[in-house]
Amino acid sequence: MNAQKQAHAWLLLLPALTLLVAFTHYPAIATLIDSFMSTPKPNRASVFVGFDNYAAMVDDPIFWQALRNNLWFALATIPLSVGLALAMALWVNGKLAGRGFLRMAYFTPTVLPMIAVANIWLFFYTPSYGLLEQIGNLFGLPSQNWLGDKATALGAITVVAIWKEAGFFMIFYLAALQGINPSLREAAAIEGASRWFFFRRVLWPLLMPTTIFVLVNAVINAFRMVDHVVVMTRGGPDNATTLLLYHLYEVGFKFWDQGYAAAVTVVLLAALATVALVQFFVLDRKAHY
């Protein structure tokens, strides 16, 4: 390996690496530093304030609510979207009538902009003349303001996220299913194994790497999906649908409180780093039998 070749390699890497450092590594480190600094004001530069921003965050009930909301949001979206994705993939991969239509219907939400579909769902949920209300009327149910009621708003947002994601995850299961040797199914049929038995003992273990891949993506998405919140509720009513990233957006770009925003970013980064470490050290080992 001569010096000239080394130089070549670095030249090839340089443009991509510079941008990655400038917009991923540098801001991640700068965030950490800023989280210990005060927000600069016109007449007062930023100074070191120790853990003040974190203290402010811990004292902020909205932060805790955002965290709680986000955990509930994650707890609901992850298993439901992954479970539905698996069911969809099994159906589309099977011999059902109209498979082409099924695949198209399941996958369509994935290619639509969240911002656009959120507007459609907003209309869906509208009290007094949204579609949901009309269906409710048919069954004589009382009027319900799904997005305006603290009890149902987060659930309504969660449904949209599941709807958007399930078809996307389906694709990965579908790819995995298509890679499974069909003779396995025949062998199981000859042995008289039930469908459930075949699924649990053969398909599920074979799909494990896919499940882990999809789960990791679902967890990441649970912490970065906010477009629908911006359109449908703006975190309301009374912060019932404020997720962490939305809280960060408000603190950073509505209140322009940089120090506090940096502290919230650090929390988000810590959450994502945890996912990465769990994936790397625990799941990747388990995925390969």
């Binding site: 070749k5 991923t24 059902l96 219907a105 399941y106 902009p113 459609i120 911006v230 957006y249 970013t265």
Partner: protein
């Protein structure tokens, strides 16, 4: 075992149930879109009233088009998406090639650093990136929206995997003929990785056509606003909430991708598959 036999005997009914459930879910899944199409193509008084005799109209689209600078937004999004994709393809091809064809000190460390971006996407770092953009004077420009995405760890990873699978013999043959490193990249690696490029392009275009939060933060005028942000500004401005017009605008925004998807379904699905599998 008895249970297994019983289940197997119940199979025809099971198949029927499967079909019902699959179709039920599919209809549920397509319902919001169907509803939007209905509302957008009918006069406002039918926006939530279903009748087969309701007259069809394109007026909602015409009014939406006039009510906001959608033509400009379309132009911005198209330019933005092309700019990002072009840069990604160029920069990430070069980087992936370096990882596959060269041995250099710190290679593994550098690759690990690249992979960090898979977990920490630019969306989360929007406060710091905003500061950087304002220092660079790129606030409210298309370049400012696109720059954080030009280098994609995902693309580098994907292309590196693909390049690794290209037979050594082909590369050796090209070397024998005296091709330079860049010629080998251009004549051997790139053509053989074409399906992966198509897959990545579809995923990237869908992602950036739909991206919202970062463009929302970094733009503040019609000159640079992409469609998603334009739609949000339009839909949230107080204009007496005319759902027919808002859904028409919504469909306009989604139309290019939706049409492309409906026409090239198989390619889309396969691209997303290919891009997702390591």
């Amino acid at each position: 075992m008895a249970e297994a036999v019983a289940l197997r005997q119940a199979n025809p009914a099971g198949h029927w149930l499967d079909t019902m459930a699959a179709w039920g879910l599919a209809i549920l899944w397509i319902l919001p879109l169907a509803y939007a199409v209905w509302t957008a193509f009918h006069p406002a008084e039918f926006s939530a009233k279903f009748s087969l005799t309701a007259p069809l109209t394109l007026e909602n689209f015409a009014r939406a088009w006039e009510a906001a600078p959608f033509a400009r937004y379309f132009l911005n999004t198209t330019l933005l998406v092309s700019l990002i994709l072009g840069s990604q393809l160029l920069l990430c091809t070069l980087a992936a090639y370096a990882f596959v064809r060269y041995e250099f000190r710190g290679k593994n460390v550098v690759f690990a650093l690249v992979l960090v971006q898979l977990m920490i996407m630019p969306d989360v770092l929007l406060v710091e990136n905003y500061k950087t953009m304002s220092k660079l004077g790129l606030i409210d420009t298309l370049l400012g929206i696109g720059l954080p995405y030009f280098a994609s760890a995902f693309a580098i990873f994907l292309l590196r995997q693909t390049f690794k699978g290209i037979p050594k013999e082909l590369v050796e043959a090209a070397t024998m003929e005296g091709a330079s490193a860049l010629q080998i990249l251009w004549r051997v690696y790139v053509p053989l990785a074409k399906p992966v490029y198509v897959a990545f392009a579809l995923v990237s275009v869908s992602y950036h056509w739909n991206n919202f939060l970062w463009p929302l933060v970094v733009t503040n005028s019609v000159n640079s606003r992409p469609l998603t942000v334009g739609l949000q500004v339009f839909a949230s401005a107080d204009q007496g909430i005319d759902w027919s017009i808002i859904t028409a605008a919504t469909l306009l925004t989604a139309a290019p991708l939706l049409l492309a998807f409906l026409l090239f379904q198989r390619q889309f699905v396969q691209s997303f598959m290919r891009a997702g599998i390591k």
